[in-house]
């Protein structure tokens, strides 16, 4: 029960901090002081206090977009185990729900974007649809591999199963998986080199361009949902990359928080040392990620 409460508390409060850490890391590389760690919280609070303008050409779909996106991500947050602690909700086959909760959120975000009738948002939706189609196989190959390794069909036992022992056994497969999943983590969260969350150039954006017409609290929800998504996918990734457990519940929570912050620093470093890919190159990298994940599946099935 305590663990469930901590789980929900962390899921609700910690995500924007990751963005703050990424921002600080990038600022350090650029030789700047950077915004405070808590800036993303201030931004979201500021947006929530604002009024909202809805275009008269939009329908209920436009308003539903941010809400569904946040709701689906929040449910997904309940399915992923954080660190060594099982998730509050766990059942056989929840991995499929996990994957398609994101798809449902994306569907509504894209529909809301198309609902505005703006050419920019149409372009953004087309890009998002293409790239998410190509990212999906990677996620499923990863789930198959993990399921095979643990013999389970639920995320909590699947992910907690990964330990140093498993690494020693099937290190090659997990290494491939980490490569593929890191690419998925970046593309799903619109990070450089796939998308630039800080750009103001509407013609080059993917995710940001779809939410151009949202303002005020609706936009605050979108920002928060984006941070939560990074947190949820990051928690998944941490299991693969840093599968440490001490056995002490409190220490494990601390370890989880530190691991997540480390992940944010790594993402910040990646964003600082490389430029964005040309959009036409993104599918190639996503296919490569799928192939990595497919090989890891092959290695554990053989």
């Amino acid at each position: 029960m305590t663990n469930s409460i901590i789980h929900i508390f962390l899921a609700l409060t910690m995500p924007p901090l990751l963005l703050g850490v990424i921002g600080k890391t990038k600022a350090a590389f650029a030789g700047r002081v950077g915004a405070p760690f808590l800036q993303p919280y201030y931004d979201i609070i500021r947006l929530l206090q604002k009024g909202t303008v809805f275009s008269t050409t939009t329908t209920w779909l436009f308003r539903a977009g941010p809400i569904v996106a946040l709701a689906t991500t929040a449910v997904a947050a309940l399915l992923v185990p954080f660190g060594a602690h099982p998730a509050p909700v766990s059942f056989d086959g929840d991995m499929i729900l996990y994957a398609y909760l994101f798809a449902l959120g994306r569907f509504f975000t894209m529909s809301a974007a198309l609902d505005t009738g703006s050419s920019f948002e149409g372009m953004g939706s087309a890009r998002e649809a293409t790239y998410s189609c190509l990212a999906e196989p990677t996620l499923f190959f990863a789930l198959i591999t993990l399921s095979r390794l643990s013999g389970k069909f639920s995320l909590s036992p699947m992910l907690i199963n990964i330990s140093l022992g498993v690494w020693l056994d099937t290190g090659a497969a997990l290494l491939l998986l980490i490569g593929g999943m890191f690419i998925v983590l970046l593309v799903e969260n619109c990070r450089i080199p796939f998308d630039d969350p800080n750009t103001h150039l509407e013609l080059t954006m993917i995710h940001e361009v779809m939410v151009l017409d949202h303002s005020g609290p609706a936009f605050g929800l979108i920002q928060y949902a984006a941070a939560l998504k990074l947190f949820v996918l990051g928690a998944f990734f941490i299991h693969l990359a840093l599968p440490y457990a001490t056995g002490n519940p409190l220490l494990d929570w601390g370890l989880f928080i530190i691991s997540m912050l480390e992940l944010a620093v790594v993402i910040g470093i990646v964003e600082s040392v490389m430029a964005r890919l040309r959009l036409i190159r993104i599918p190639q990298l996503l296919v490569a990620a799928s192939i990595l994940a497919a090989f890891s599946t092959l290695l554990v099935i053989r």
């Binding site: 990038k26 650029a30 700047r32 050419s119 103001h200 013609l203 080059t204 600082s272 430029a275 964005r276």
Partner: protein, 506 residues
Amino acid sequence: MSFGMKNFYNGTSFQRCEIPMPDNDMFFQSVLDAVSAGWRVCSYFGVPNAGGATLFCIMSARAGSGALGIIATTVGRSFPSLAAACPQLHLFEREIAEQCLTRPEGHPWFKPVRFQKPLCVGESFWSTTDGGGLLPAVMDFYHVEGDEVHEVAVGPVHAGVIEPGHFRFQCHGEEVFHLEISLGFQHRGIERALTGAPTPRTMHQIETIAGDTTVGHAQAYCMNMESLGGFFASPRAETVRGIALELERLANHTGDLGAIAGDVGYLPTASFCGRIRGDFLNMTALLCGSRFSRGLLRPGGIGYDCDASIADELHNRLQSAREDLTGAVNLLWDTPSVMARLEDVGIVTEKDAREIGLVGPAARACGLNRDVRRDHPFGIFRMSQIPVVTATTCDVAARTRLRWLEAERSLDFIEEQVRHLPRGSYLNQAKGIASGRCAVALTEGWRGEICHVALTDDRGCFERYKIVDPSFHNWNGLGLALRNQQISDFPLCNKSFNLSYCGFDL
């Protein structure tokens, strides 16, 4: 070969009656012959009169001779368009139609340029019947039909803090078939305001033609005033002007390098260059108190002297700025993901660049070896030359690398000049300007060739003061660079050209 034109050198003036005024056929034939012999059009404009307009064409001879040519003719309410045979004239002809109400017959792309009111009395060719007047970007855009073709309109209000301009893309998926650019939102009527000048405010108006090219335009104006008035700037003043021109180039090239890095999402260079640009602007402020060189150039010299302590300080600051800039820019070349993003994007072929008459870094990145500082030297550049840098790959990477190489040459130049400042006065007394003369001045601003033409009437005032900003030549290059490119590459191509909106809109 002079093609029936009067030949003269940059920064000189002559009696208006010396300008050859052949009949229309001879005039247009001369222009066509000169262009096919490799001459380039610097300025082509009309002075409206009762029955039509007098057209003046100023051309630059092939590199090496240093000569310029001028020829004129009087036309009625229409004149034959040469745009189809000579694409570099197309925007000039539209401008003549808009300003002088004389129609270029057979113009393949007859549309307004700035949506401005004509310089003479009469109705514009594009006036709406309801008398609403012309509004920028309200016109028929080129349109591609088809089920899978879609149109994207960007601007005039942009997401970033940039000037207003309207871009209309015809796209097939992510691929751009055609880009049409419509400007005019910043039209302030500078040329109209300069008719009847010079007045005490003229210098300030010139300094604001394009706010980031203050020195380039001010230099051209000062050259015209000096040749018309028969007075000179001292060598000391010419040197400081040269230093200011190169500081302006450095500041803007540095800003552009940072902006290009920012566009591809490469943060370190973007942040460093943003700061170093400020260092260069502050060096300009050291010379005259203004980060954008306002008040530095004055007819007859410079407004503020550059004493030994300022020169020393400038030299020291330059050393550290060079170090910082070298480090920041080398990061770009050392990062494969950045180079992969820049290479083979936004190509304008050398042939296209020559035909549409690109100038400045945009032209040199296409392998066109043209630079006013060498081809038509002015001021300090008559004594001390800067090597011209060219590139051959014609893409964004070429325009990026070219900026860095030019910045290096400019740093060398300033370092040398600042150590050997000539003695003497810094400001000679300006005199009134002569009547009935024509003066032409070309300078190489950081965007490229700036051309100012002054025609004085019999009272010694400007009857027409024609300004051509490099952006006027180059905006078409951006449109061509986008052909068959990804629409997502537009911001990057745009930054690599970094053209002026207000310099075009005047």
